[in-house]
């Protein structure tokens, strides 16, 4: 809202310069967009010479009353304890009292009182011409183009008091009628902007006997537009229901000065004031005169709103005592009437003020709103800053926060950098990752672009894209992880961690030759993460996208699948312009499932972290190399040993896997390290040999393994 300072001075003797006034208004809730000096321009006869400027204010959606010079004048007067001049009380603010009655020149009928509770109209004889220079200058300062004296008067009143009005050329109205009705389905109108618009019954129009002549509260029609030959006009001033105007404005994609005010809430009483102000302006600038009575259709009278403000409540919400005189001063300055009578009669905790809400303050609906008015004008800066004492012990935090942080620290400590990628991804890009199942993908109904048209089912597409981004920028060694939400139709929202690693397996160093990342680097991270949550994982080979066959596994915890791990299918990498030689290893883990598994463990084996006493006797280590079928998974070998563990066997580790010279075709040499220890005595060689023989015997029997 552009406020020319000279215009504001009609209502209040502003005692600050433009910059200082803007800064002060900002502290009352009116943010400044800009303050600009105005060049010297023609001034109205009553204006005292003073430096002029225009302050552009951002008006919040709750304050339609401040989309006007008067509204800002009222705030300024209250803020500075200055007198506010109302319409009809000073030169330049004339208001001509009109008598209500029935007009024989125009008939007015409200046919949709739900959308238009009040409609007033008055007929005037006019001579179309240019506006006086001062009026055109003021409109221009406020950002409105001058058109002709009649249109300018309606715009002047719009800016001055915030009430939209409209002038129809009376001779262009069929049957000299104004019918406020819903549009007929398919009815059309050409609005003042020259656009032909098709209407529907949700849209309210002002029609003559035949056709729509204006879209109510939004824009007039071209047919009855005031033009150079116009001699008689009918001025409309109405209150339209905010929701109806808002719906119409959205439906037509048409936002105007009028619709912006009506949809936030007009002043039901300003309808008459605006017409009386128009009547005065017509005469004062010699543009014409009102003929006949004022027609006021008010089928839905509004009752006066009164709200009680308790002094105790005011204190409790602001945290400070505001003197009674100050409360009354602020309310009256803002146009609220206060009654103090019952202040004396009621119980102390109920004592306060009965406050009558002016009709222009549509935002004030309850006691808290009154508290805000007092707080605003008392000044938030004058309130003390107090740290509130706790009223209860602190509540526990969401366990997911600590869980995610734990996982994050492990991965950071492993040298991975943390990424944050978009939650929405491209449908096609996700499909390439084997996540295209239409029943599971959740789309975005109103995406910004095709790049963001589904919410992600997996963190991997985004993370691989981040790898590709870095690869395009001269990075070969890339290690990233992300912790975040993913979505699917059947599973809803769930938290996961994903890892992507390409290039060197460890930071390059002058002391060693490099090695590229492989499956087991990433598997180690997965084991580490699960281990930190008190869980152990197993891997089962898989052949599902987006992973390369032969280098892919599902991750299983306690029998439940919690993720996948492997090399990204080279075709997917190539489609993202990643060099064909680059192997990208990834893993994704369902953190919620891991956490659930941990909770189950805690329930079934409470107090899992118990310290074992330290061994009292030495352990004995034996290494074995076995030749087995190459398809036999190492985990099966280990399982067989542990299932029939000989006495004293405490640990089994793999330390080598070899294929090649000396090993029969389709076979592999597995090297195992067995650790034996007894809690009761030092084991002898014979004890250990007996154990090794048992293991060998068992492996030979079950897997046909032979010692190498």
């Amino acid at each position: 809202m552009r406020i020319p300072l000279g215009w504001l001075r009609d209502f209040v003797d502003v005692d600050l310069d433009a910059r200082a006034l803007a800064d002060a208004l900002a502290m009352r809730g009116f943010e400044t967009a800009s303050v600009d000096p105005l060049p010297a321009s023609p001034q109205p006869p009553w204006a005292k010479p003073a430096a002029d400027a225009v302050i552009d204010l951002e008006i919040t959606a709750n304050r339609p009353d401040c989309l006007s010079i008067l509204g800002i004048a009222r705030e300024t007067a209250t803020m500075r304890s200055l007198a506010l001049r109302l319409l009809g009380t000073a030169p330049g603010l004339e208001r001509k009292r009109l008598t209500a009655g029935e007009s024989d020149a125009v008939s007015v009928t409200i046919e949709a009182p739900d959308l238009c509770p009040r409609y007033a109209a008055v007929v005037a004889e006019v001579t179309i011409g240019p506006s006086p220079a001062w009026l055109a200058a003021r409109l221009e300062a406020a950002g409105v183009r001058s058109i002709n004296n009649i249109v300018d008067i309606t715009n002047y009143v719009l800016m001055e008091i915030g009430q939209p009005t409209h002038a129809f050329d009376l001779e262009r109205l069929d049957g000299r009628a104004l019918r406020i009705r819903r549009a007929r389905a398919g009815e059309t109108i050409t609005t003042l902007d020259g656009m032909a618009r098709t209407l529907d019954p949700e849209i309210l129009v002002i029609a003559d006997a035949e056709r729509a002549q204006a879209v109510a509260g939004v824009m007039g029609g071209g047919h009855s537009e005031v033009a150079s030959g116009t001699t008689r006009v009918v001025f409309e001033s109405a209150y339209f229901e905010p929701t109806g105007v808002r719906r119409t404005s959205k439906r037509l994609g048409l936002m105007t000065e009028a619709s912006a005010r009506f949809e936030r809430g007009g002043d039901v009483n300003a309808t008459i004031v605006a017409l009386e102000r128009i009547a005065a302006l017509l005469e004062s600038i010699g543009a014409g005169r009102v003929v006949g009575p004022l027609v006021d259709r008010c089928p839905v009278p509004r009752s006066v709103v009164r709200i009680r403000l308790r002094r105790q409540r005011l204190h409790d919400l602001l945290g400070v005592d505001v003197e009674d005189e100050e409360v009354v001063r602020i309310f009256e300055g803002l146009g609220f009437a206060t009654s103090v009578e019952w202040l004396l009669e009621v119980a102390p905790e109920q004592a306060g003020w009965d406050v009558t809400i002016p009709s222009f303050r549509v935002d004030v609906k309850r006691e808290a709103d009154l508290v805000e008015e007092i707080g605003r004008h008392y000044g938030y800066d004058r309130l003390p800053a107090v740290f509130p004492a706790p009223q209860a012990p602190p509540a526990p935090s969401d366990p997911r926060v600590a869980r995610d942080e734990h996982v994050r620290r492990i991965l950071l400590a492993a040298g991975l950098n943390e990424a944050v990628t978009y939650t929405f991804v491209e449908r096609g890009g996700q499909e390439a990752f084997g996540l295209g199942d239409a029943a599971e993908v959740v789309g975005i109904a109103n995406p910004l672009s095709g790049k963001f048209d589904v919410v992600r089912r997996s963190l991997l597409p985004g993370l691989v894209e981040a790898v590709a981004h870095n690869r395009r920028h001269e990075r070969r060694d890339i290690r990233l992880f992300e912790i975040g939400a993913r979505f699917s139709a059947s599973q809803g929202e769930n938290h996961a961690v994903a890892i992507a690693w390409t290039g060197a397996g460890a930071d390059p160093h002058w002391s060693r030759s490099g090695r590229d990342v492989d499956f087991f680097d990433v598997k180690g991270l997965v084991e580490q993460v699960a281990g930190a949550l008190g869980l152990s994982v197993t891997c089962e080979p898989t052949k599902t996208a987006p992973l390369a066959a032969g280098r892919a596994a599902t991750i299983v915890v306690d029998g439940a699948q919690v993720g996948a791990i492997g090399q990204i299918d080279p075709a997917i990498a190539a489609a993202r312009d990643l060099p064909s030689g680059d192997a990208i290893y990834v893993a994704e883990l369902d953190l919620d499932a891991l956490w659930a598994a941990r909770l189950v463990r805690e329930r079934t084996a409470p107090g899992t972290t118990r310290v074992a006493s330290l061994p009292r006797y030495p352990s004995v280590v034996r290494d074995l190399s076995l030749i087995v079928d190459e398809r036999l998974p190492a985990s099966t070998v280990r399982g067989t040993i542990l299932a029939h563990a000989p006495e004293g066997l405490v640990d089994v580790e793999f330390f080598d896997r070899y294929q090649g010279e000396g090993i029969p075709d389709a076979h592999v040499s597995l090297s195992l390290r067995l650790t034996f220890r007894s809690p009761e005595r030092t084991l002898t060689d014979a004890d250990v040999q007996q154990g090794v023989d048992a293991v060998l015997g068992r492996l030979g029997e079950v897997h046909g393994a032979v010692q190498r």
Binding site: T60, Y380, D381, G415, H473, A485
Partner: protein
């Protein structure tokens, strides 16, 4: 005749040029050689001077000799200490650093904020990113017709999705998920205020960090996805003065101990009274600089007293309880703290950007 002082100065200059044991031997021989050494020569010359001067000159010459011997011995020791050890390593080569990744700047800021509020007695809770209209709008005093819904251009899901599989209170059954369909991506973390209040009785002190979404095209200052931290404190007789106290305590820990806050009245449908909060610019201490666009202030958050309609929507007694809430953008704070010029950098995951943040 050369005097002792002159000879001493000459010796010290020669000693200065010594770089090896060999050099040192040459210098030693020049001054101390029994035959032809400069000191020996000086003594010989003293023998030819008048008897009255001889004791004094002799004393000086002897002192010089002792001094030279001591200096040579000291130098020899130093040379020995400097001698390289066989098989010595080059200690100037780079060390083998354990790998350590960089935290994302948004996580750095979030963790700092969480730490401060945790210490102030607030629980950290998370909420779902896929929401329903009730929690995101209706319960926050924004019914379908409310103009404020325009302010939040929302991304809607195509069809409805099941509710989250897991909440702060634990895993949820498939039935529970199915009964709780979600239709949009939350536009603010305020939706979690509602969920938390529905599940807990006052008093309440929580902060809710999380991801939020708006239908904005990405540019320098906008992102369709960003992060917020919501705060909520509810109790008996909680006032705007308490809100000022909590936020001031936070600001002084997060930014600078001398920080000041400025509360400007504003409008949010779910708070009444409402305010926007500016913090005094720490770069210029309020004098005005490029960071604060010469105003001395930086806008950091919006806040207010919880609107009674919100309490009513969650079934609280709005007469008995009052409270306040605030919401701040984590990107906004990271941008201010680190001088990030383009919000999109947070989501490009360019290692050249990420590696600039402290480990």
């Amino acid at each position: 005749m050369v005097d002792a002082a002159h000879l001493r100065a000459q010796f010290l200059a020669d000693l200065d040029g010594v770089a090896s044991d060999r050099d040192l031997q040459v210098v030693r021989d020049r001054y101390l050689a029994r035959k032809g050494g400069l000191v020996a020569r000086l003594l010989k010359e003293i023998a030819g001077t008048p008897a009255a001067d001889r004791p004094r000159l002799g004393q000086q010459a002897n002192a010089l000799k002792l001094d030279i011997e001591a200096n040579i011995a000291a130098r020899r020791e130093r040379l020995a200490a400097d001698r390289p050890v066989a098989g010595a390593i080059d200690v100037t080569l780079p060390g083998r650093r354990p790998a350590l990744g960089h935290r994302h700047p948004l996580t750095i800021v979030r963790a700092q904020m969480e730490a401060i509020f945790t210490r102030l007695g607030f629980a950290v809770v998370e909420g779902p990113e896929a929401e329903d209209e009730f929690h995101c709008f209706d319960a926050l005093n924004m019914p379908a017709s409310h103009p404020a819904r325009d302010m939040q251009d929302t991304l809607y899901l195509a069809g409805s999705m099941r509710g989250e599989a897991w909440t702060a209170t634990g895993p949820r059954s498939a039935d529970e998920q199915a009964r709780d369909p979600r239709t949009l991506l939350r536009t603010h973390t305020s939706s979690m205020q509602v969920r938390y209040m529905q599940a807990h009785e006052p008093p309440i002190r929580i902060v809710v960090p999380g991801t939020v979404y708006r239908r904005d095209n990405p540019d320098l200052t906008h992102s369709p996805m960003f992060h917020q931290m919501e705060g909520l404190l509810v109790g008996e007789r909680i006032s705007l003065a308490d809100l000022k106290g909590v936020l001031l305590t936070f600001a002084r820990e997060m930014f600078a101990p001398s920080s000041r806050l400025r509360f400007r009245p504003s409008f949010f449908p779910y708070t009444e009274p409402s305010a926007e909060v500016d913090i005094s610019c720490w770069a210029c201490e309020g004098a005005g600089c490029a960071q604060c666009k010469r105003t001395g202030w930086l806008e950091i958050l919006g806040c207010g007293m919880v609107h009674p309609a919100v309490f009513e929507a969650v079934g609280y007694d709005a007469e008995r309880y009052t409270g306040f809430a605030w919401g701040m953008g984590i990107e906004r704070i990271a941008i201010l703290k680190y001088g990030v010029e383009d919000i999109r950098l947070f989501f490009d995951n360019d290692l050249r950007f990420l590696e600039q943040f402290p480990i």
